[in-house]
């Protein structure tokens, strides 16, 4: 530690690793005394000696994590316009319900007769997603969005294999999330990238050329709609027709479903498979990086390939289908992220079909409002209207040397979480702003004013913005050293110091 702890720092308290607070003999739990003699233990191996865990008391643990929490920024702290991530309000009701012992203290291998309420909830959630997508059936198994993509592509592969040819190629637009090409590659497919046109949309000529070249080697087209540029793909019906014509499947990355939930059914757009990110559209908390949940809905033709288990209703009883001849099999241990199902289901019930429609409309209105308010201050690579997120770049600031990174860091000094930066990759210096529907107009207006002020500072005093942030728990980090000489554990850190 290079910080002098006696420096006055107000409430920005410094905190060191628990390892550095450890003193032998301290404990944060009280257990009954136990000492196993050699002949008493039946592990067949000697008792573990030193583990090297820290030794601290409960008050120290509480204070440690409370102090750490104060160095974080969450949706509950303020506006979080992180494009593509749908950082919307997380209702506390959902947390409370997921913690009911009837949901949290049940075991995945209990007899099904003893978990009928849970199975009913899962069955209802499947039905809600079937109805919202217009597709035939939904699996709840995948653990996150990327895992849902993997499941979706596996089903597509299985369906093609069933017809005698797994095919070789998956088409992915160059504006796609990195998970799309990574998913297709993990499934053994070759990725053919489809260039975007000057409007940020799928270049139909490029698509035609790829179809011409690869024809029936194409297993699927993976499209994010609305796109990662925040645009609704106007040619989507046409694209679907082209894809179906060669017997390929139309996969939609549902990461941006928030723009159209309760407003448009993906099946009506010709989509065959779509994953949801329950931690985006249906508001299960991001938790600093997870857990998520990534159900997938599929068209009737793909239902035989759904992973197991699937929840069905037989008479008055709910049942897990755990074997199906053409199923791709199990994709995750047990039945999926059940705790997330409770939260998402509560969210859906709270909104209803009328509320979900409002979700999409307010999310889209908020984004367009920001787009129109900032179009003179930042470069807009594509014309709107946008959907639930709007895209700018740092092109207008180029001459000043101020970049997207600087604007993002500047925002943190003003108490905002930055927008998504440098994504999508098809424009230089991207700033992708997604306000979501749960922001009051005042917060959005304040953000707009701050963005204008940063654009102004960039013109007047670019050096000042390069020094931002100044008022955050940490200033800019040395990421280069972190990557050149990775220190990934306390033990490695000690070796480095020694």
């Amino acid at each position: 530690m290079t910080v002098n702890k006696r420096n006055p720092q107000g409430l920005l308290l410094e905190e060191v690793l628990l390892y550095e607070q450890s003193h032998s003999g301290r404990m944060g739990v009280d257990f009954r005394a136990v000492s196993l003699s050699k002949d008493e233990q039946r592990t067949g191996l000697p008792l573990r000696e030193s583990i090297e865990l820290p030794e601290v008391s409960e008050p120290q643990v509480v204070r440690h994590f409370v102090r750490l929490s104060q160095k974080n920024y969450g949706i509950d702290s303020g506006f979080f316009p992180l494009g593509s991530c749908t950082m919307k309000h997380n209702p506390r009701l959902n947390e409370k319900l997921a913690r009911l012992s009837g949901f949290s203290q049940i075991h995945p291998l209990q007899p099904q007769s003893t978990v009928q309420g849970m199975l009913e909830l899962m069955f209802n959630l499947q039905n809600w997603l079937n109805e919202l997508s217009g597709l035939a059936q939904t699996t709840l198994c995948p653990a996150a969005g990327a895992h849902g993509e993997l499941t979706g592509i596996m089903m597509i592969r299985a369906a093609h294999e069933d017809k005698g040819n797994a095919r070789k190629v998956v088409l992915v637009p160059d504006s796609a999330h990195g998970t799309n090409p990574a998913t297709a590659a993990m499934n053994g497919y070759k990725i053919v990238e489809i260039k975007s046109d000057t409007n940020g949309l799928v270049d139909i000529q490029a698509l035609d050329a790829a179809i011409e070249k690869h024809g029936t080697d194409i297993a699927a087209f993976m499209l994010t709609n609305p796109s990662t540029c925040g645009l609704f793909e106007p040619n989507i019906l046409n694209i679907a027709e082209k894809i179906h014509k060669i017997g390929a499947y139309f996969y939609c990355d549902g990461a941006n479903f928030n723009a159209i939930v309760g407003k448009i059914k993906p099946a009506d757009l010709g989509i065959d498979v779509m994953q949801y990110n329950l931690h985006k559209t249906f508001s299960t908390p991001h938790g600093g990086g997870g857990p998520g949940s990534g159900p997938v809905s599929v068209c009737a033709e793909l239902t035989p390939y759904l992973p197991i288990p699937l929840v069905v209703k037989e008479g008055d009883n709910f049942k897990l289908i755990e074997e199906a001849p053409k199923s791709i099999g199990k994709i995750k241990g047990y039945h999926g992220q059940a705790g997330m199902f409770v939260r998402a289901y509560a969210y859906m019930l709270s909104h209803g079909k009328d509320g979900l429609k409002q979700v999409a409309e307010a999310a889209v209105l908020n984004a367009n409002y920001i787009m129109h308010s900032l179009k003179d201050d930042y470069f807009m690579p594509f014309n709107g209207p946008c959907m639930h997120e709007c895209l700018f770049t740092d092109k207008q600031q180029k001459e000043t040397g101020v970049t997207t990174l600087d604007i993002a860091k500047g925002l943190t000094d003003y108490g905002f979480h930055p927008m998504t930066t440098y994504f999508p990759l098809i424009v230089g210096g991207a700033m992708l702003i997604e306000p979501t529907e749960t922001e009051p107009k005042e917060a959005i207006d304040e953000f707009i004013l701050t963005m204008k002020e940063l654009a102004n500072i960039a013109q007047q005093n670019p050096e000042a913005i390069k020094q931002m942030p100044q008022h955050t728990p940490r200033k800019r980090l040395d990421e280069v050293t972190a990557a050149r000489n990775p220190i990934l554990t306390y033990q490695m850190s000690r070796q480095t110091q020694a």
């Binding site: 191996l45 643990v61 994590f65 009701l93 990934l488």
Partner: protein, 431 residues
Amino acid sequence: MRYIPLSEQDKQQMLERCGVTDINALFCHAPQHTLDPAYNLPNHMGELEVERHLVSLANKNKDFAHNTSFLGAGCYRHHIPATVDMVIQRSEFLTAYTPYQPEIAQGTLMALFEFQSYISTLTGQPVANASMYDGATAMAEAALMAQRVTKRSNIVYDTDIHPDYKAVLKTYLSHIDGEFTESASPAETVNEQTAAYIVQWPNFKGDIADLNKLKSTCQQQGALLIVVVTEIVALGILPAPNQADIVVGEAQSIGNAMSYGGPHLGFFACQESMVRQMPGRLCGQTTDADGRTSYVLTLNTREQHIRRAKATSNICTNQGLCALAFTVHMSLLGEQGFKQLAQINHQNACHLADALTSLNGVQVLNTTFFNEFVVRLPFSAPKLVADLANEGILAGYALNDTDLLVCATEMTTNEDMHHLVQAIRIEIEGK
């Protein structure tokens, strides 16, 4: 709708700035006939109504708060200190995103660094990542990494691995060339084309293998040894599995509720030489512009958002909050507490095993175990499970017609054990 703040007046002002009069004008690029279809769904509900509905569903389940249980099989019931839930419900942790902006995410990052440190030291592996979805997917990813590291494609795995883990492995590898062999005798099946041998430790039936022997078998053939741990509490009593090249598994036991099978907490640890082949996020220590110790996600070029089709995995969102829960709970336990917890688990399991073997015709099949073992019953195991479930006792997991996998943890009381023993006694004497 209580979660959406825009008033009618707000909407009018905002539409005006957008230069339109109607919200549907903003959806002008969508095929117009697809807008606003009919949904066969209810309208919104108030908080009270939602709560009533979900409480009624929850009440239909037999939960462990009101029933006795001996179920384990990869998902364990342990006591979670109150502090854990307090911390993970802190807004700043619960509602934060992945810490891509480290200046305002040091809380999540330092906790991840502590998580990685704990997993590393528990497993005896030099590096650990910031979590995987669950133990089953972690094991599949370990097999994929072994293929990348060794440039071999065959995988051999032990028979007594959790059936879900085997099933997920099969699904993940289904399109990959190479042989996947189930084998309880690696000395005969691991050869110079084998990327890795996978063993669960303790295994699905509770037995604990000698890793030294497995290590030398693998080493002779240049194959990696992957050790899978589904009950991480075992690492408080067993020596660190540092013979392994990769240790993966499930850490739900510490800090995380069973929650009908998820969200749980996959972990992934391995040798330092493989760090650039690892899947998932890694948090590293560095300094900020003022030279203060700081934490940041690092080695990002392995990941999908940068490497795209060439990424080591497609994983993005992981189990961040579950890793935090683990870290808080493990911090409370500490060196002594964690060892004591493991010993209490083992002691209770030993008591249960003794009590059950005292019954006529009941036999414990394990020679070694930690907190879980197999009993052979003189009558139908599935029937016992079904019958006792009606009486509020979840007797365990029936492996086949006669064998029952039972588990005891620190939650298992003498009274619980007495109930199970009595129930089995009645069943025997009834015969």
